[in-house]
C-alpha cells in the first residue's frame, strides 16, 4: 500500500483532489424523483398551514427547560395563546382547519380559499366534491394526476384565489365545463412535467 501511496504522491495537489469532488453528483433519475417528492412536500406545505402559535412553541420549550423560575409563567402564557386561538377558530365561519383536510380528506375534494384570507392564518371556507372544472386533453381521459395549484388571472370580483387538492384525482371525476379559465400545472404518472409549467391550461 505504501508503494501505491508513493506513486500517487508524484504530482497531485490538494486543489486537484478537491476539484475531483465536483464530479461526485447524482444522475438524472435522482432529480426526477427529487422534483416529484419536492412537489408533494410543497403541496402539503401549502395545504397544511401551521397555526401561528406553533412558531413560539420551540422558544417556549427552551425557556421552560432553561429557566425554572419562569417556567410556570411561560407555560401559562403558552396555554393562553392556545386557548385564544381555539376561541378564534370556534368563532369563525369556517369550522375545518387545513391540517384536518390534509390528513383526512377523501379523493376529489378541493379546498377553496378566499383571496383576502389566503394568509398564514387562512381557513378554508368551503370543501366541496369536484366543484370545479378544468380543461384536460382528451388523451388523459383515464389518467390520474395531482392537482397541485391553480393560478387564476387576477379578477377583483372573484371570491377565491387558490384551489389546491392534497389528493390524487381522476380525470373522469372532473367536470369538463368552462368554469375555470386557466389552470396551473399538474404532475403525475401520466402527465410528466409540462413544457411551460404555470402558463395556461394543460
Amino acid at each position: 500500500m505504501q508503494d501505491n501511496h508513493s506513486s500517487k504522491k508524484s504530482s497531485v495537489t490538494l486543489e486537484q483532489l478537491l476539484h475531483l469532488k465536483r464530479a461526485e453528483r447524482p444522475d438524472e433519475r435522482f432529480w426526477d424523483e427529487f422534483d416529484r417528492e419536492l412537489h408533494r412536500r410543497q403541496l402539503a406545505t401549502a395545504v397544511n398551514v401551521r397555526p401561528w402559535y406553533t412558531r413560539f412553541s420551540g422558544a417556549g420549550l427552551v425557556a421552560l427547560r432553561r429557566s425554572a423560575p419562569f417556567g410556570a409563567a411561560a407555560a401559562a402564557l403558552l396555554a393562553g395563546f392556545v386557548l385564544f386561538d381555539q376561541h378564534e377558530t370556534d368563532a369563525t365561519d369556517a369550522p375545518t382547519a387545513p391540517a384536518q383536510i390534509a390528513q383526512a380528506s377523501p379523493e376529489n375534494v378541493l379546498v377553496v380559499l378566499p383571496a383576502e384570507q389566503f394568509t398564514a392564518r387562512a381557513r378554508p371556507i368551503t370543501t366541496e366534491e369536484s366543484p370545479v372544472s378544468i380543461r384536460v386533453p382528451s388523451e388523459l381521459t383515464q389518467a390520474q394526476f395531482v392537482v397541485h395549484q391553480f393560478e387564476l388571472p387576477p379578477a377583483p370580483a372573484r371570491p377565491w384565489k387558490t384551489v389546491a387538492s392534497p389528493n390524487m384525482l381522476t380525470v373522469s371525476a372532473i367536470d369538463r365545463g368552462e368554469g375555470f379559465e386557466s389552470a396551473g400545472w399538474a404532475t403525475g404518472p401520466a402527465l410528466r412535467a409540462p413544457a411551460n409549467p404555470g402558463a395556461g391550461s394543460f
Binding site: 500517487k8 490538494l14 483532489l17 478537491l18 475531483l20 432529480w31 422534483d35 419536492l38 412536500r41 406545505t45
Partner: protein
C-alpha cells in the same frame, strides 16, 4: 420594477452575479405574488449546487437528498418574508448550511459515509494521470479510495473550516460571497481557508506531493 435591494451591495458582486441576483429576485417576487410555479425555476437553478454543498458537508448522499429537500421547503415557507436585503442565492445557501449544521449536531456520533459515484466525464484527467501509474483496471479502485480518504479528511475539519473549503474549492465561490453567506469578514474566510488546507494537507500527506 423588480430590482433587488442587493443593488445597494453592487460593490460586493460582480456584474454577472448581480444580474443573476436580480433575475432571482424577480422570480421571488412572482412566488410572493402567489405564482408557485416560479419557485420551480429557483429550485431547478440551485438544486444541484445546494445538494453539492450539503453532500460535501455531510459526506452522505441520502442525508444530502433529505436536507436539500428541507432547505427548499424552508425557503418556500419563508419566501414571503424575503425582502432582498441579501441575494436569494446567499439566503438559500444560509438555509442549507444551517440545516446541515443542525443535522450534524443532532447526529454527532454517527459516522456513516455514503458517497456519490464520480461522473466519468468530469473526472479531471490530469488528476487521474498524475495519480495513477496504475493500469486502467486499477484506476477506478484507486479513485474510489482517494474519494473516501478525501471525504474522511474533510469530516475531520471543523464545520466552519469544512464549509469554507467546500464553498471555495468545490463550489468556486469568491471570498466575498463566502463571507456574506457565513456572515463573517473576508479576512476570516481567508484565514479559515488557509488553516483548513493546512489540515487537509496533513491528513492526506500520503496522497499528496
Amino acid at each position: 420594477m423588480a430590482v433587488s435591494k442587493t443593488l445597494a451591495k453592487s460593490l460586493t458582486l460582480n456584474p454577472e452575479r448581480q444580474e443573476e441576483a436580480d433575475a432571482d429576485f424577480r422570480l421571488v417576487e412572482r412566488v410572493q405574488a402567489g405564482e408557485v410555479a416560479a419557485f420551480d425555476a429557483l429550485v431547478h437553478k440551485y438544486r444541484e449546487r445546494i445538494y453539492g454543498i450539503i453532500y460535501n458537508l455531510t459526506s452522505n448522499c441520502e442525508d444530502a437528498a433529505d436536507l436539500t429537500q428541507e432547505s427548499f421547503i424552508k425557503a418556500f415557507r419563508s419566501i414571503g418574508r424575503f425582502k432582498g436585503s441579501s441575494s436569494f442565492f446567499t439566503w438559500l445557501y444560509r438555509i442549507a448550511i444551517n440545516g446541515a449544521l443542525s443535522h450534524l449536531r443532532r447526529n454527532r456520533f454517527r459516522r456513516y459515509f455514503s458517497l456519490e459515484k464520480l461522473a466519468d466525464e468530469e473526472c479531471n484527467p490530469e488528476v487521474l494521470q498524475a495519480l495513477l501509474l496504475a493500469s486502467e483496471s486499477e484506476k477506478r479502485t484507486l479513485v474510489n479510495e482517494l474519494q473516501e480518504k478525501l471525504n474522511e479528511a474533510l469530516q475531520k475539519l471543523s464545520f466552519k473550516h469544512r464549509t469554507v473549503v467546500t464553498l471555495f474549492e468545490i463550489d468556486q465561490l469568491s471570498h466575498q460571497e463566502i463571507a456574506e453567506i457565513m456572515e463573517c469578514s473576508v479576512g476570516t474566510v481567508r484565514s479559515r481557508l488557509h488553516y483548513a488546507k493546512q489540515q487537509l494537507q496533513a491528513y492526506l500527506k500520503d496522497y499528496l506531493n
